[in-house]
């Protein structure tokens, strides 16, 4: 049985309209508002995994329920029926299972069960189904209705089998409003309630607190059931029994769930017990089977499953205590590895090696686990940062839908982040310590204060050693340790997403560890994997542990990747555990010397017997000599050795999948790193070794290596790029796969840098598509977007249904006269834009004169472009122009006509020049430059404006200007002015409002003075005006000058395979060393599989974000429906007859997640 990991399963949104249960997921949020709130609400939903449906929902009394129960595969009836503690918590009728669960400090004493029903009553009142219920008129439909309803399910029938199903149905969404139709519900709801009940306290909150939605939904079906129930005489007495087997499963979950949610459950156990009794009593009466309230009996059968306590007895701060040892745990932050110069990498490795060498004499446990990317947290952040998303357009997906599809995309991609922990076992516990602890247990306390104080002193040295450059570790928090222990016990299973240690502050201490109870372990046939089953969610996972065997020499960082980071190339998360001893120089030398002596004596032996010794012996002897020499004469860094075992855990849903993945890992390592991974026996012991504190599984494969090699393992190498608060644009494509988020206003708002983002690639590299996609995403979020796209494909963005009412296409080739009047293109600074006071005055004046100077420069350049090139090259022309320009006032209101008049008045040459300009004005396109700009050309409030020059043929910059056609000659000034027009639009209005401008084909500005000054002004103003400027160019030379001045915050470099100079410039912009092979990386971006006939559905870029992190990313915006079709810029073949009328670009939507 495999977990139905159907993404569709979790998405309650598929349920009609009533996303309530989804919002329920968000607990207390509901009130309010439309789309935005549903988004966060739905987020947790989306994040959930659909647990395997449980068969144990048998409702024997032949109610319509039964079919529903039959629906779930008749799987493990043996498995504790449904761990799904009813989201309602009624469950506890079963009452406080004795024993077991205590230490989960349940604030309420663990009996919250009773209350929920009661609370639900009032809330349920508003719900129509409830009305239906009350109208059903059964005796139970009275104030006790709620409690009864809760209890009612229990009376389902003779063998009423727990909660799960019953409770589940209640949580069914609105459709459940028909009580009679409840049967069908369980099929769908079970996943949800189970999920809800799983662990998310936020969720748990929902059933009860959420006023409207969840409450009513749970109740009505119950009530509905109540009705039919009443007609069937129940055979109640057995109820308590049947519930038994499951009881102990629930309480811990119960407590966890309900604790945060239901504060009022402070009912004492004693009270709790009778209460359900009371409630039970009433419904019982009508059937008349029961004489008097029955006390729930203590469970007859305890869970006989064998359990074994972990070796860890206490977690105190960052120390863990086992019976014999004390271990200090540290959390290691991730370090950048990709695209760094080799010298930096070496320095990093050496620094880490020194730190490890400083830990000589201790035993280390290096542990790498994964944490799911907190998708809902991201969704909440982005929703919080988007105060005014684009209003919904009829018939188009709304902002909430957009976020939901992004989250689904993230879910499907299994985004996870790695966490690295280092445990140092530094002390043995003395007999007195252990005795003191035992004694304290009797008193209810833990380890003694003295012991902890002593250890605290010892442990301070580690803080120093590990806190400096290199590892930069910090102490682990108890919560993180709990997380680590849980993840080690449930090795490879999907982590309880709501429990990710980052987002949720609601976790009580001990909750995570309580969950370890539900993990069952099985040994599979032939012992090649270990099967772990989570009783709560029904998830099953096969884990196999590989151990590092023979290692050939490695060249890190020149050739090879860090050898414990290399596995992250594969798309599924794996866990690492290294148990090593650090031997200081003395110990290591002794060890080695012993070995050397043995080798020498063997050699002597051969000599005495007169046989040729194998050359290997001599080689080894030499090597031992050299190593010994290093050890005795070198620094501890060279001398220290690390002896230990290194394990890698691979998991899969089925045994075959797990073994297949293990095979792939083994092959990858042996091929690329020449490390052989072994798959030894005793998998159960190996899996146990991952848990902190457990003994080492001695299965051989002890590796002895110098500290440097162990430092070069670097499991904490990372590849994050981008901020975490922006739109999802893709994932990293280097060694690991992390989602990449980009908020183009993050540099301006948070980092206070310029908002200029530069895109460099060859034609076909995907720049336009990326700009279009970013423009779309920004427009969605309510940013004022202006895109300039000379070639025209981006205009189709305006046809997207969600953008159509809010967008406008400005086609320059069809515009009125004066749209591109040069003087008006440079905005005049306002006094209000500058701060008060004298400095503000000064700045204002400087800005004014800068603006005037820029206008003059622009007009000069435009005129040079308008006249024939031969004339433009003459010195006299330049002088005349300068003269004329000086005389025309450089204000916005001037026009080219003024200039021409002035020119005519200078002298004959001037008149000639003026006539030439007027000649140019004969072409209709050139009229755009003359005259005053029409009113209202710029001031609209469209969210998205696309400026195109449809039909305009762009000149080839490599050809001399003389050979250009008239139209091409005109295209150049048009481009220049169009760029300015696009930016001009952003200079009106609120300075702090978010704006985005996308400029394509910016390489045409190269070589013109005004062009360069335009870019500088753009970069400088972008911060002040909160303007994100996307500038795409095929040749970054001019922009490179900007970058040197730190005016560029984000850089995207696409495929550059042809021109080496451009590649070198691009690398310089990325601040990546040249000449070491990264040019090859640039050339192989977006590499096409030659055997494939389809078009590449994605594009790869090397991205440098505002914080300087560089990484190769794969841009994938397929989660926006229809976006790729609209942005399709390549000519497509004739539509085929099959369903894919659009070119393969359309298919990425389904397949893109698959490729992940």
């Amino acid at each position: 049985m495999t977990t139905p990991s159907h993404p569709g399963g979790h998405y309650r949104e598929s349920d009609p309209s009533d996303g309530r249960p989804g919002t329920a997921g968000n607990g207390p949020t509901p009130s309010g508002a439309g789309e935005k709130n549903t988004t966060p609400g739905s987020a947790p939903l989306v994040v959930f995994r659909a647990p395997r449906a449980h068969p144990a929902h048998a409702s024997p009394n032949g109610r319509s329920y039964t079919p529903a129960h039959a629906a779930p595969p008749g799987g493990p009836s043996g498995t504790p029926p449904a761990p799904h503690s009813p989201s309602t918590g009624e469950f506890p009728l079963v009452d406080p299972p004795t024993g077991g669960f205590p230490r989960v400090e349940s604030p309420s004493g663990g009996f919250p069960f009773i209350d929920p029903p009661v609370r639900r009553t009032p809330s349920g009142v508003n719900h129509p189904p409830q009305n239906a219920l009350t109208s059903s008129g059964n005796g139970a439909a009275s104030p006790p209705a709620a409690p009864q309803s809760d209890s009612s399910p229990q009376y389902r029938g003779p063998k009423w089998n727990p909660t799960p199903s019953e409770w589940n149905t209640p949580s069914a969404p609105a459709p459940a409003s028909e009580p009679a139709t409840t049967p069908t519900q369980p099929a769908v709801p079970p996943p949800i309630p189970q999920e809800q009940s799983r662990l998310g306290q936020v969720l748990t909150g929902t059933p009860a607190p959420a006023p409207a939605a969840p409450a009513p939904t749970p109740t009505p079906p119950q009530r509905g059931e109540l009705k039919p129930y009443v007609s069937h005489p129940p055979a109640t007495p057995q109820r308590p029994r049947t519930v038994e087997p499951t009881n102990f499963v629930h309480p811990p979950a119960q407590t966890t769930r309900s604790r945060p949610a239901l504060p009022q459950q402070s009912s004492t156990p004693a009270k709790a017990v009778p209460a359900p009794e009371a409630t039970q009593a009433t419904p019982h009466k009508p059937p008349g089977n029961q004489k008097k309230p029955v006390k729930p009996r203590p469970p007859r059968f305890k869970d006989r499953a064998p359990r074994q306590e972990l070796a860890i007895t206490e977690i105190a701060g960052h120390l863990t205590f086992t019976a014999n040892t004390v271990t200090a745990w540290y959390w290691l932050p991730e370090v950048r590895w990709a695209f760094r110069p080799d010298s930096e990498r070496e320095n990093l490795i050496i620094a880490i090696a020194e730190q490890y060498a400083g830990l000589a004499g201790f035993r280390l446990h290096l542990r790498r686990t994964t944490r799911p990317f907190p998708i809902d947290e991201w969704a909440r952040t982005i929703a919080a940062n988007t105060p005014n998303p684009l209003p919904p357009a009829p018939g188009a997906p709304t902002w909430a839908d957009h976020l939901i599809s992004a989250q689904r995309h993230l879910l499907a991609a299994n985004a996870s982040e790695g966490q690295t922990y280092l445990g140092i076992t530094f002390a043995r516990r003395t007999f007195r310590d252990v005795l003191a602890e035992r004694f304290n247990h009797l008193r209810g306390k833990g380890t003694s204060e003295k012991e902890r104080a002593r250890n605290a002193r010892l442990v301070e040295q580690f803080d120093e050693i590990l806190g400096s450059f290199g590892v930069r570790a910090r102490r682990a928090t108890p919560h993180e340790l709990e997380w680590l222990i849980y993840r080690s016990v449930a090795l490879g299973m999907s982590p309880p997403t709501h429990l990710s240690p980052v987002s949720d502050g609601h976790w009580e201490s001990g909750d995570l560890l309580a969950l370890t109870e539900h993990i069952e372990r099985y040994r599979t046939p032939y012992g090649s994997t270990v099967k772990l089953v989570n009783r709560l969610t029904g998830e099953e996972r096969h884990v196999c542990v590989l151990t590092v065997g023979r290692m050939e020499p490695l060249e890190i960082p020149e050739v090879h990747e860090p050898w414990l980071h290399f596995h992250e190339r594969l798309p599924w998360p794996m866990e690492l555990s290294s148990r090593v001893d650090v031997l200081g120089p003395g110990d290591a030398f002794r060890n080695l010397e012993h070995r050397l002596r043995m080798i020498r004596s063997q050699q002597r032996d051969y000599q005495e017997h007169g046989i040729d010794a194998p050359p290997e012996l001599e080689r080894l002897a030499q090597r031992a000599l050299r190593v010994g020499d290093e050890m005795t004469t070198g620094l501890p860094l060279d001398a220290s050795r690390i002896h230990g075992w290194h394990r890698l855990a691979v998991s899969g849903r089925t045994r075959e999948e797990c073994l297949e993945r293990a095979r792939r890992v083994i092959k990858m390592y042996s091929r690329d790193m020449r490390i052989s991974l072994q798959h030894p026996k005793n998998q159960d012991l190996l899996v146990r070794e991952f848990i902190p504190g457990e003994p080492v599984a001695n299965t051989g494969y002890l590796r002895r290596m110098p500290v440097r090699l162990f430092a070069a393992a670097l499991p904490q190498a990372a590849s994050i790029v981008g901020d975490r608060r922006g739109d999802l644009i893709g994932r990293t494509a280097g060694t690991s796969r992390r989602p990449v988020f980009l908020d183009l206003h993050f540099p301006t708002e948070v980092r206070e840098r310029s908002g200029l983002a530069v895109f460099v690639a060859e034609p076909g590299g995907g720049k336009s598509t990326l700009i279009g996609a970013l423009g779309y995403l920004a427009a969605r979020r309510g940013v004022q977007v202006t895109l300039l796209d000379p070639s025209g494909p981006l205009a189709r963005l305006c046809q997207m249904p969600e953008l159509r009412p809010y967008s406008r296409v400005l086609n320059l080739t069809g515009s009125e006269h004066g749209t591109l009047a040069p003087y008006a293109l440079i905005p005049t600074p306002q006094r209000s834009h500058f701060p008060e006071g004298r400095t503000g005055d000064r700045e204002y004046e400087i800005a004014l004169s800068n603006a005037r100077a820029e206008r003059r420069m622009l007009v000069q350049d435009i005129c040079s472009m308008l006249v024939p090139p031969q004339v433009a090259r003459e010195a006299r022309t330049a002088t005349l122009l300068r003269h004329a320009v000086r005389q025309v006032p450089a204000e916005e209101t001037s026009t080219l006509d003024d200039l021409i008049q002035t020119l005519s008045s200078i002298d004959d040459d001037g008149r000639e020049l003026a006539n030439l300009l007027l000649d140019t004005a004969e072409m209709p396109l050139a009229l755009l430059f003359f005259g005053q700009p029409p009113e209202g050309a710029l001031g609209d409030d469209a969210a998205l404006t696309v400026i195109t020059m449809a039909g305009l043929r762009l000149p080839d910059l490599r050809i001399e200007r003389e050979y250009w056609s008239a139209e091409e000659q005109l295209a150049l000034p048009m481009l220049h002015t169009a760029h300015r027009l696009a930016v001009r639009r952003c200079y009106g209005g609120d300075m702090r409002r978010r704006k985005l401008v996308g400029l394509d084909e910016a390489h045409f500005m190269e070589g013109w003075r005004s062009g360069r000054s335009f870019l500088v002004r753009l970069a400088r103003d972008s911060r002040k005006w909160n303007l994100a400027a996307l500038v795409a160019s095929q040749n970054p030379r001019d922009i490179l000058g900007l970058d040197v001045q730190n005016l560029v915050s984000t850089v995207f470099v696409g495929r550059i395979a042809e021109d080496h100079e451009i590649a070198a410039d691009a690398l310089r912009m990325l601040r990546v060393p040249r000449g070491v092979g990264y040019e090859q990386t640039l050339a192989t971006l977006s590499a096409v599989d030659p055997s494939s006939q389809n078009r590449l559905p994605y594009r790869e870029f090397v991205m440098r974000d505002v914080d300087g992190r560089v990484q190769r990313i794969r841009v994938d915006i397929s989660y926006v429906p229809g976006l790729l079709e609209h942005l399709d810029t390549t000519p497509t073949p004739q539509p085929r007859n099959d369903s894919n009328a659009i070119a393969p670009i359309a298919t990425p939507s389904p397949s893109a997640p698959a490729e992940v």
């Binding site: 108890p478 372990r521 040994r523």
Partner: protein
């Protein structure tokens, strides 16, 4: 940096060539002789358990011990020392009976772990 493990030093095969002056025709690792020396009395003891007598020249025991030693050492390599091989063989023998179906192991639970937020 060129980084390599020290393992090859520890992988050197140390063979017993023979007493000084005489080279044995077959060169076996020292460990095999040791194991042989342990196995012969062991098999003699088993023989004694069954027959209550000890032979002067235990031919069968020696033969058995030789076979067992070579069998064990067929699977031994520097990464899997002899004791591991022996242990694996023993556990395999015990568990082969159940190898065709799943067996439940005790779940590892952390329910009795105390947690303190601060160290002191």
């Amino acid at each position: 940096m060129r980084l390599r493990t020290d393992d090859d030093i520890y992988r050197a095969r140390l063979l017993y060539l023979g007493p000084p002056g005489y080279t044995l025709p077959v060169h076996l690792p020292y460990a095999q002789y040791g194991l042989f020396a342990v196995l012969v009395p062991f098999f003699m003891f088993i023989h004694y358990l069954f027959t209550m007598e000890i032979e002067i020249f235990p031919a069968w025991e020696i033969a058995l011990a030789m076979v067992t030693t070579s069998f064990i050492f067929r699977h031994v390599d520097p990464d899997r020392p002899a004791r591991i091989v022996i242990r694996t063989a023993l556990t395999d023998w015990r568990r082969r009976q159940e190898s065709s179906e799943e067996r439940r192991d005790p779940s590892l639970v952390a329910t009795k772990v105390r947690i303190r937020q601060e160290l002191l």
